[in-house]
């Protein structure tokens, strides 16, 4: 029997207080996610239950019980407190998927500080922009990533501490650096979790838009209510499950459903901290006897590409439930997974701003391959007319997805950018920026983004950010960046550039520009292709018309080009 039981029945009498009651929370009480993910589980008698089974390169393994998580998060919180870090200070986690990242996240929340996880592959500029916006007080990182921090340190007087979790003493620590070894530090038995309230800030995740700099999405401790219940009902986590969320906590899935969801339910999760290969993933599922697997379409398509023969080499019979997030899961992938694993991946739709699942498929509900499913109980969803922003009553007519912003995990604002936050609403609806239609059975079907943001492998890339970085390359005079279709990643970044006089448009320069962006921003933002042009399409007022280039890439109609500048 699944946790949700009947979806239809849940809709009838739904109230978020279901989760509040299960979590023993009443309005006005203290609510601290860090405490809920560690101390409370121990108090429920699960102190000795494994919380984290971690595997690194070469099969290196570490295991932590819920009591270990409690003690180590106490120790981290206490260490940060001794450094002078206080509630609501921003503490950045800039690490690979190592245990310190997961447990550090819990420790930061216990202290009442705001966890700011950043993807460890970010280049120094991506890092700087996000730290600057957040005015981050401390950065917890590893030796392998500290050089990117050191490079920009002079521009960040607000960063008081850089905490190295794997310092080995081989080289001297530098300015503002301090060593902290989570496993070897004297464990702190008692740490009073900061009495955060429902609206106290908890997590700051960064996301990209069409224009402007990345936005810091502010979440609060009350988000736990919907993260807990969606994990329970959609991911269907049950007492003896071994859960594997493949997402990196540098992104929202990795925290909402890679830390908060499973640990607030007292579920054992495992983490594989190595690069992707079909062999290593299947081996991991077999070895760890994974029962619930939450992954992403890009990974699923890569597994499809690796073929079905390899699957026969592994015993994957432990798997009982699969789900996917990050970008639309194509029907072929759903059908394939049913064929090879005996279970279909259930697509879930949500985003950084929503903090928890919004439209999803449910255990027990009929799946229509390629559909995002139906709204989670308690979520008021619709598709809106693109001009009037009124709900569309006609079945199958495309429009903008809209949500009534009244669920617990909804973002509270963009950090230091309330103006942009307000622009996300029309007519009382929150607009996530995607287009869809609803079929006759109430299922939602994704059509595409409503802006120029590029979704590559489930990560949003701002064309503006890449274009700006391109202009910093000595050879580039003008740039325009659009999405290019990609079989595995759905979309990848493609750049169109014009060159300054004296530079030769050749393959070597293309590679130099690609690497320039990779190091400056991130591998995700690196153009997978650069096309040299003599000129870029512009309006008569000089604005580059990205949509013309986008249409060319996707083989679509270019549309109205009456404002296009003559050559």
């Amino acid at each position: 029997m699944s946790n949700i039981g009947s979806y239809e029945k849940r809709l009838e009498d739904f109230d978020w207080s279901i989760a509040e009651k299960e979590l023993d929370y009443k309005s006005g009480d203290d609510i601290n996610i860090g405490w809920y993910c560690s101390d409370r589980i121990c108090e429920m008698g699960k102190a000795d239950k494994p919380a984290l089974i971690w595997e690194g390169l070469g099969g290196v393994e570490k295991q932590y019980t819920f009591n270990d998580v409690r003690l180590r998060s106490n120790t981290i919180a206490s260490f940060l407190k001794d450094l002078g870090i206080k509630n609501e200070d921003r503490v950045c986690l800039f690490m690979d998927k190592i245990p310190e990242l997961y447990i550090g996240f819990v420790g930061i929340l216990k202290l009442g500080a705001v966890a700011q996880p950043l993807f460890s592959a970010f280049g120094d500029e991506s890092l700087h922009v996000r730290l600057d916006n957040a005015q981050t007080t401390a950065i917890i990182t590893q030796r392998k990533h500290v050089s990117k921090v050191r490079k920009i340190l002079d521009q960040m007087p607000y960063v008081k501490h850089i905490i190295l979790v794997d310092y080995d003493g081989s080289k001297p620590l530098r300015e503002r650096e301090v060593a902290f070894n989570m496993d070897e530090a004297e464990q702190v038995e008692k740490f009073e979790a900061f009495p955060t309230k429902a609206e106290s800030p908890s997590v700051l995740h960064y996301t990209s838009g069409t224009t402007g700099q990345p936005k810091g999405v502010k979440h609060v401790h009350y988000s736990l209510i919907s993260q807990y219940l969606t994990t329970k009902w959609v991911l269907d986590l049950q007492e003896n499950d071994i859960y594997w969320c493949t997402a990196d906590p540098g992104w929202v899935t990795g925290t909402s459903y890679g830390i908060i969801g499973p640990w607030s339910l007292g579920i054992t999760q495992c983490v594989l901290d190595t690069g992707f290969s079909a062999e290593s993933w299947y081996k991991f599922i077999e070895k760890r006897k994974v029962t619930m697997w939450y992954s992403a379409p890009t990974a699923i398509r890569s597994l499809m590409k690796a073929g079905n023969e390899i699957i026969k080499q592994y015993d994957l019979s432990s798997l009982r439930h699969l789900a996917s997030v990050g970008e639309p899961l194509n029907a072929e992938a759903v059908i394939w997974s049913e064929k090879v694993f005996g279970k279909a991946f259930l697509d879930t739709y949500w985003q950084t701003e929503t903090g928890s699942m919004m439209l999803t498929n449910y255990p027990g509900m009929k799946i229509k391959p390629g559909s995002m499913g139906k709204p989670f109980p308690g979520i008021t969803a619709t598709v809106l007319d693109t001009k009037t922003f009124e709900p569309i009553s006609e079945t199958g007519k495309p429009g903008l997805i809209g949500f009534k912003p009244d669920w617990p995990a909804m973002m509270r604002t963009y950090w230091r950018n309330e103006e942009t936050y307000q622009k996300k609403f029309e007519n009382g609806w929150y607009l996530p920026g995607d287009r869809a239609y609803i079929d006759q059975d109430g299922y939602y079907w994704f059509i595409g983004r409503d802006d120029d943001v590029i979704n590559t492998g489930g990560h949003l890339i701002s064309p503006f950010e890449v274009e700006s970085a391109l202009l910093e390359h000595e050879a580039v005079a003008e740039s325009a960046v659009v999405a290019k279709p990609d079989e595995v990643n759905m979309e990848v970044v493609k750049a169109f550039v014009t060159l300054k006089p004296g530079f030769v448009a050749d393959d070597d320069l293309e590679l130099k520009i690609m690497n320039f962006i990779r190091k400056k921003l991130s591998p995700l933002a690196m153009p997978q292709e650069i096309e040299y042009r003599d000129s870029l399409p512009k309006t008569r007022s000089g604005k580059i018309m990205r949509r013309v280039l986008h249409a060319q890439e996707w083989g679509e109609e270019i549309g109205d080009i009456s404002t296009l500048e003559d050559d």
Binding site: L57, G275, S277, A306, T456, D507, L511, P523, M526
Partner: protein, 80 residues
């Protein structure tokens, strides 16, 4: 002529490593070891194609084939 493996190794260290993790050898797992991610693999493939004037089909550019410098050398020689 400079050894192909040396050239590739030098490029990998120069482009994908920093002073704290530059102890890469011919056998160090690059992809499964997280030194080169799947997106960055595109730039490594482009380097090999430019340098050795070859074209590596996408179907052959698998994470396994790019996992060590030794394996990359085998791959490049296949297409020379």
């Amino acid at each position: 002529m400079e050894d192909m493996k040396e050239i590739i190794l030098e490029y990998v260290i120069e482009e994908y490593c920093d002073e704290e993790n530059d102890d890469v050898t011919f056998d160090t797992p690059l992809i499964s070891g997280g030194i080169v991610d799947s997106f960055s693999m595109v730039s490594l493939k482009r380097f090999l194609e430019n340098k050795y004037k070859i074209s590596i089909p996408d179907a052959d550019a698998s994470p396994e084939a790019f996992d060590t410098v030794n394996k990359i050398e085998v791959l490049v020689k296949r297409f020379q």
